[in-house]
Structure formats: C-alpha cells, structure tokens
C-alpha cells in the first residue's frame, strides 16, 4: 500500500495524448495531499522517449510488442499486475477512448472502486466529476484503498503536466501476453477533408441547433465573411450533413483556434473536450442552461437564425470599412 498516484499515459501512433498531461497535473494536485509520488505508467514498445516531458517523479515503463499500440486486453493484463503489486492510492486513466475501455474491467478484476468522468482532484482527496452532459457536478471523497479514476479534460492546463526535466524511467516486468482475445488489425486513416480544422485560427462550429442540413449555409456564409472554416459537433456528422473531417470532440479533432464560435451546440463533455483549449469561445444557444456557456467566454441566447445573418452582414461591412 503506497500513497503514490499512478497515471496511465495514453498515446496513439507515437503521439502522447493531451489528456496524459492533464492527468499528470491532476495527479500532482492529489499527491500533494497524500504525500506520495506521481508515477507515470507508460505501456508501449520502443516508446521510452515519449516520457521526455512528463511532469512525474518517475516513469514505470512496460515494453512489449503487444503493447506497441493500444488494445484493451493487453493493457488490462499488464496494468492489473502492476496495480496489484504496488497498490497505489489512485490510478488515473483518461476518460477517453483508451482509458474508459480499461478502467471498468480493472475495477472488477481487482475489486477496486471506480470514479468516472472526473474533472478535478484536490489535495484533500476530493474528486469533482461532471455528469449529465456537463449540467451537474458531483463531488465526493476519493474511495479507498486504491481509487481508479477516469479523467476528463478541462480542469487543468496541459503545461501543468509537462516538465523540462526528463523523469527517471524504470522498466517493469510484463506478465504473459499470449492468447489475447483482442487484436488490432490496422488503422484506417480518416478521409482527407479539404481543410484541416485543427490548423484554422477561426472555427464556426455547428451543432444540433442548426436543425437542418440547409441551415449550415448560414454558418458557411459567416465563416467566409470572417475567413474561417466550418466545423461541427457529433450529431451533425452522424446525420451525414458534414464530413467526419469536420468533427470536433472526443472522437473527432481536438482544436485550439483563436476564436471558436459555437452555433447551437449544447456543450456536452464529449464535444467540449475537443475545443476547450480554444483561446476564446463564443457560444450562441437559445437554452440559457446549456453547458456550453460554462466554457464560453461570451455567450448569447439569441436565435441563431436571426443573429448569424445579421452578424454576417455587419462583419462584411466592418471588413469593407477597414
């Protein structure tokens, strides 16, 4: 039994995911209370160099060809033996396509409690989770003995989890990884869109509130006037109204433009995750209780169908004048 905080580092195809730094920052906050160390758990194959900028006291590195890319079962087996062996105070996973796939199984396998979708952890050992699409926050004491936690982004800045000093890396033993039932066949690249929304300084993003495919045109007109691009939340892409390359959010692109203008987007955590690093978020949504207003700097409950055309006109005028 230790007071250490484990952080299960996420990486995909040689890239460390942003959430890893968020978790390292959260672990640091928590470790201040427990007095333990922040331990980054890196699973991979020839991937030591990924740990170079982790803000961690040490890195436990498990190297195995079966861990080269994420598969739920290989990760679970490896992590189970590690957690069992070291009994940390808490293990942080991303509340992501990686972390959320494995934390639950470990909770059952190791009979350890699980806290999901956590936004912040503090030194008093309290967690704050966001539930109900971001409309409700739930606070509680981190359960013992070892709390498994999945972390959602938004509570910490990435820099807080980064460091100039490379942490010490220890290689750890690997249990048998034969007879795995889950294997990665291959990756499929996204269809290349015309533009990479992740590189745009200004995005006009549309959500369910846009109502019909045709209405996306008003967003496009504003984007043209402002010299930005149109992006979208999940429902728009699911309907096939815009290609997947326009998707912002958990399963889409993570963007950080200078200005992110959200039209009719409620602001579910899955979406917010992909855009809350934007410099300035402006939200237009008729529902005053929409969680998007929790991340936006400016907001209005005006109707997009009145406001956006008016805005487009004024932007055109302003651009013409200047």
């Amino acid at each position: 039994m230790s007071q250490d905080i484990f952080v299960v580092i996420e990486h995909l195809r040689g890239q460390v995911a942003d959430i890893s730094y968020v978790m390292l920052a959260a672990a640091r906050a928590l470790a201040q209370g427990t007095g333990g160390k922040v331990v980054a758990i890196l699973l991979g194959h020839n991937a030591q160099e990924l740990a170079g900028n982790f803000s961690a006291n040490r890195v436990l590195y498990a190297d195995h060809p079966a861990l080269a890319e994420f598969t739920s079962e290989a990760y679970q087996v490896t992590l189970a033996s590690l957690i069992r062996e070291q009994s940390p105070r808490a293990v942080l996973f991303g509340h992501t396509t990686i972390g959320a796939d494995i934390a639950g199984g470990l909770s059952v396998k190791l009979s350890l409690p699980l806290v999901s979708s956590c936004r912040t952890l503090n030194s008093n050992g309290k967690f704050v989770c966001q539930i109900c699409g971001g409309k409700i926050m739930a606070e509680g004491d981190l359960p013992s003995p070892t709390a498994l936690v999945t972390m959602a982004p938004g509570g910490y800045k990435l820099e807080e989890g980064q460091s100039d000093q490379a942490p010490a890396i220890e290689t750890t033993a690997i249990p048998s990884l034969d007879d795995l039932r889950v294997t990665l066949k291959h990756y499929i690249e996204p269809e290349a869109g015309d533009v990479d929304i992740a590189k745009e300084p200004l995005l006009i993003s549309v959500g369910r509130g846009i109502q019909t495919k045709d209405n996306i045109e008003i967003a496009r007109e504003l984007a043209t006037a402002l010299g930005g691009q149109v992006s979208a939340s999940r429902p728009i892409v699911d309907q096939g109204w815009l290609p997947a390359s326009c998707l912002v959010g958990k399963s889409g692109k993570h963007v950080r433009p200078k200005v992110y203008l959200a039209l009719g987007i409620s602001g579910a955590p899955e979406h917010v995750e992909g855009m809350n690093e934007s410099d300035t978020i402006i939200a237009i949504n008729t529902d005053p209780n929409a969680p998007i207003f929790n991340v936006a700097k400016y907001g209005t409950t005006a109707d997009i169908f009145d406001l956006v055309p008016a805005l487009t006109e004024k932007v055109k005028q302003a651009a013409g004048v200047s």
């Binding site: 989770c129 539930i131 606070e139 300084p201 399963s251 200047s322």
Partner: protein, 254 residues
C-alpha cells in the same frame, strides 16, 4: 448468433435538472427519463447484425418510467426477447450493481455478443459495458462505430480522436461499447409499437439484492457556478451582432 443489448434510461437533459434538498442527488420529482442515446444506437446495431446474419436479439433494461415503451419499440424494430429487471432500486442503482445483475442474468443464456452504449451521461462509476465484460470474463472494446461478425469473432471499428479508426478483431463471446450504429436509429411508427404491445411479451426478472460495491457516492451535487459562466450578451439580434463584431475586432479577427 445470440446478441444481448443491455440498455438504461437516463435523465432527459431537455428538462432543467435540479438537485434534491440533501444536495447529494438529482431531484427526481421533476426528472423525466429517456433512453441513453448510445444504448439506442446499440439496439440499432444489434438489429442490423441480425438483419445481415440472422440470430436473436435480447434487449434488457432495468425498470424505469418509459422502459416498457422502449422495449416494445425495440421489438417493433426486430428484437426477439424483451427482459425487464424489477426490484427495489430505492437504495440507488449504479453501474457496478447493474453490471452484476446483468451478469447474473446473462451467464446462463450465454450470448455470443453483448452490445451496449459506450457510456451514459450519468455514469459516476464507469459505463456498464466494461464491468459486465470482466464479470463474464469476456473481452471488451468500446467506442465502436460499426461491427461485423462471423461465428467466433467480431471485427469492430473503434473510433479514435481525429477520425482515425482502428479495426479490432475480438474473439467471441465479447462485449462491445457502441458509440454509433452504422445508421441512425430507425423510426418506428406509433402504430407498430401498439401492434407489438399485443404480440410481444416483456419478461420480468426480479433482482433480489443490489451489490453497489465498486461504485462511488457523491457527498455533494451542484450545478456549475455562475462565475465560470460566459458573459452573456443581451439585446436584439442586431445589438448582439454589434457587440460580437466589437469582440471579434478586439481579438484581431477583423
């Protein structure tokens, strides 16, 4: 192929959510429940698999207001068996307890494939899928949008950020957490549901005791504070547009 789809009902976010006087849970007096949208996709995916390769689809849900209608809707779409878990859930249900109840139910019927929504917005102790998989000693893959299957394995398209898709091969039996079905859930006309009510039966299974261990309890629930909230621009659309132009100028976008 036998496919089981455990589903759950969650608070409808269309309604304003309020916290009960104790400050530890949602106020249920105003709560309206709705199918977890990912579970709706899981049902659709199961029906699509059945239509393509045959088999039997069983939909399982814990008792809640509106669950019967949803189960009948699933039957109208093509589900073969409907099971409703009943019992005293007054002490609260969490994902761990639900997963244990489902594992008890499903360990005898031995489905080849269990599809369930990858998450629900009120999962405080994780989604049911991975918990259930481990209880049944099955592999789990989540965030799946698109499944094909043969007798002993499934190919799942797992979605990663940035639109990257990983094709995972999973030995059956297995649990998959569905992010999106290959097509949006189909529409079922009201009369179809009414017809099904006459022909389909919902089988009830009583859960005697809930084992909540592994979950967490919140000591406080609250709505995000207003200090975190955006500066709200007021006025007519014209006025709001003027203010926005001002902001955009300030930010150097104009």
């Amino acid at each position: 192929m036998k496919i089981a789809v455990p589903i759950k009902f969650v608070p409808d976010l269309v309604e304003e959510l309020t916290i009960d006087p104790n400050g530890t849970a949602l106020d249920t007096s105003w709560l309206r429940l709705i199918i977890n949208e990912f579970d709706d996709h899981a049902v659709e995916q199961a029906i699509l698999l059945k239509e393509r390769g045959g088999g039997e689809v069983t939909v399982v849900a814990a008792e809640a207001e509106g669950v019967d209608d949803f189960l009948y809707t699933a039957a109208a779409k093509g589900a073969d068996h409907l099971i409703k878990l009943t019992g005293d859930f007054g002490s609260g249900m969490n994902s761990h307890a639900a997963a244990r109840a489902l594992a008890d139910l499903l360990k005898d019927s031995k489905p080849d494939l269990i599809l369930t929504g990858v998450q629900a917005h009120n999962d405080l102790d994780g989604a049911v899928g991975p918990l259930l998989a481990e209880l049944l000693d099955m592999p789990y893959v989540g965030y799946v949008a698109g499944v094909s299957s043969t007798n002993d394995k499934a190919i799942a398209r797992k979605e990663y950020p940035g639109g990257i898709i990983a094709e995972m091969e999973i030995k059956l039996p297995a649990v998959l957490g569905i992010q999106a079905a290959e097509q949006p859930p189909r529409y079922v006309a009201y009369n179809r549901i009414r017809q099904v009510m006459g022909t389909s039966k919902i089988e009830e299974r009583t859960i005697t005791a809930l084992d909540l261990s592994g979950g967490v309890t919140a000591s406080r629930m609250f709505q995000p504070e207003s200090s975190q909230r955006a500066t709200i621009l007021e006025g007519s659309p014209e006025e709001v547009a003027d203010q926005m132009v001002g902001i955009l100028k300030e930010l150097g976008m104009l």
